[in-house]
């Protein structure tokens, strides 16, 4: 195979091997290439302590342990290790045991689950909430539970795979409008007039850190009687005066029919939740497979998340610190003339360009220097806009940011000039 490095995970999805348990022969061959091996070495690197700012990893590319500054975890408000959160989870672990030992409908619903769902619904100012054991499961399951064959799901082209998987399971007709392009959205709604239609957008796009044009999207969808599904995975508890998300930030939350959020990012645990009208949630619980057929969330996680929710929402201290850090980080990165795309959030891409080799060599160099910053390669992002992606946390100090920026300068900013 020539130009091996031009191939990517986008090229081996089809498998002609007669044995379904064997990967495609050319995939195996591709994996043997030293460059591909190096790229794969960045996957599944072991973290040796909590996913906090100063942590320790074992780098697969040289098997060395390193103390690192972590800019990759989604621990945006640092709540994953908050002492009150840990204490609440430990107490629940003692009282309820390790797992829920059942699906929510039959025996997996504990008093803690009811309390969390009720508090999340109240916080999001919706009538009801359903909890899922995973974030992907929640997005996929909500779409699968609400849409049917013949229904139309129109998504921004940058929407997460979990929403697409939901559409696939529902056998809905899926259409993707050009990112944040309102003419493209209108054209698709116009073509599908009369069909039951849902439009899915994200609060913060996870690879770009930019926001949806939510006010315009709401107005357009109301005109076409299409429901809006808002994925606030990367915006809940951060955006808006009270932290309710971009719906609140743009002043349109009461006009959005259904919202998704996750418990694995700001709330520091795991799982997903969906808030909507009581009748919608009741129906979803009867037809959404990941809710019906998964073991419910472990009680200790629910107790920890409940405490994290309380801390994240009792005042704006952590949010204010987060936005202060974002402003400081951005200023320093822009000072290096780096391309941060249209980021307007705590997710900040540093766009490198089309060279996968350059991205890989910079990634290894940067991690050797003690910065845990992961690259994002094609096909997760366009081939001409490969990047690093920073997750800013409120837990970063100015010293952490300064130290991180020194490494980013030496490896990325200087590397891009050469």
């Amino acid at each position: 195979m020539d130009n091996t490095m031009a191939y990517s995970l986008a090229d081996f999805n089809y498998n002609d091997n007669p044995d379904v348990l064997s990967p495609p022969a050319d995939f195996e061959q591709w994996l043997e290439h030293p460059g591909v091996k190096a790229a794969f070495s960045l996957f599944e690197q072991q973290m040796l302590s909590a996913p906090v700012v100063r942590t320790e990893v074992i780098n697969n590319f040289d098997h060395k342990r390193r103390k690192v500054i972590n800019l990759t975890s989604y621990n945006y408000l640092g709540l994953c290790t908050h002492p009150e959160v840990i204490a609440a989870a430990k107490a629940a672990l003692d009282k309820y045991g390790l797992g829920a030992s059942g699906a929510a409908l039959l025996s997996g619903t504990f008093d803690l689950h009811v309390e969390l769902a009720s508090k999340l619904a109240a916080f999001k100012e919706k009538e009801a909430c359903v909890l899922y054991s995973g974030g992907l499961a929640a997005n996929m399951g909500a779409i699968q539970g609400l849409l049917r064959k013949g229904d139309v799901l129109i998504m921004d082209e940058k929407c997460h795979k979990s929403l697409i998987d939901g559409g696939t399971l529902a056998q809905a007709r899926m259409l993707f409008f050009a990112h944040n392009d309102m003419d493209s959205l209108v054209m698709m709604l116009e073509k599908n007039k009369g069909a039951r239609t849902m439009v899915a957008v994200e609060g913060v796009y996870s690879m770009d850190g930019d926001l949806p044009k939510l006010v315009e999207i709401v107005e357009i969808c109301e005109r076409y009687h299409a429901a809006i599904y808002l994925d606030e995975a990367h915006s809940s508890f951060m955006f808006g005066k009270n932290g309710r998300g971009v719906g609140e930030h743009f002043g349109v939350e009461d006009r959005i029919g259904i919202v998704f959020g996750t418990m694995s990012k700001v709330l520091g645990g795991v799982g997903g939740f969906v808030c909507s009208r009581a009748s919608t949630i009741r129906y979803l619980k009867c037809y959404s497979s990941p809710f019906q057929f998964s073991c419910a969330l472990p009680p200790a996680i629910v107790a920890g998340v409940l405490k994290a929710l309380e801390i994240a929402t009792r005042d704006s201290t952590l949010r204010d610190k987060l936005w202060e850090n974002v402003a400081y980080f951005r200023e320093k990165l822009l000072g290096m003339n780096l391309n941060l795309g249209d980021s307007a959030s705590q997710v900040i891409p540093i766009i490198i360009g089309s060279s996968g080799e350059k991205l890989l060599s910079m990634a290894i160099e940067i991690q050797k220097r003690g910065l845990f910053l992961q690259p994002v390669d094609f096909p997760a992002v366009p081939a001409n806009a490969r990047r690093f992606r920073l997750s800013v946390s409120s837990a970063l100090t100015k010293q952490d940011i300064d130290e991180a920026c020194n490494i980013i300068h030496d490896v990325i900013a200087v590397g891009l000039k050469n």
Partner: protein, 84 residues
């Protein structure tokens, strides 16, 4: 001359796969200067058409090289380059 014949055959294969994977398109309607999106394809449909066509033609173009392709004709040109 060979390359012209190859390209014609490749376009034929792509057209067949467009018809199979995108609802409501007739072969005679397909203008190769247009994008599959113009015929209502979403990105998943396009992946399907490209994958099926490459398998049928026994060639493999890296997806990363298809990013800037604007229409069916350019896709066929790219396939010609990768013919074994």
């Amino acid at each position: 001359m060979d390359q012209v014949q190859d390209k014609a055959r490749i376009i034929e294969v792509i057209k067949e796969n467009i018809i199979k994977n995108i609802d409501g398109v007739n072969k005679t309607d397909i203008d190769t200067s247009k994008s599959m999106k113009d015929y209502g394809a979403n990105s998943l449909d396009i992946i399907e058409v490209v994958s099926c066509s490459m398998r049928e033609l026994n060639l493999k173009v890296p997806r990363s090289e298809l990013t800037d392709i604007k229409n069916i004709d350019e896709l066929a040109e790219k396939f010609v380059q990768y013919q074994k």
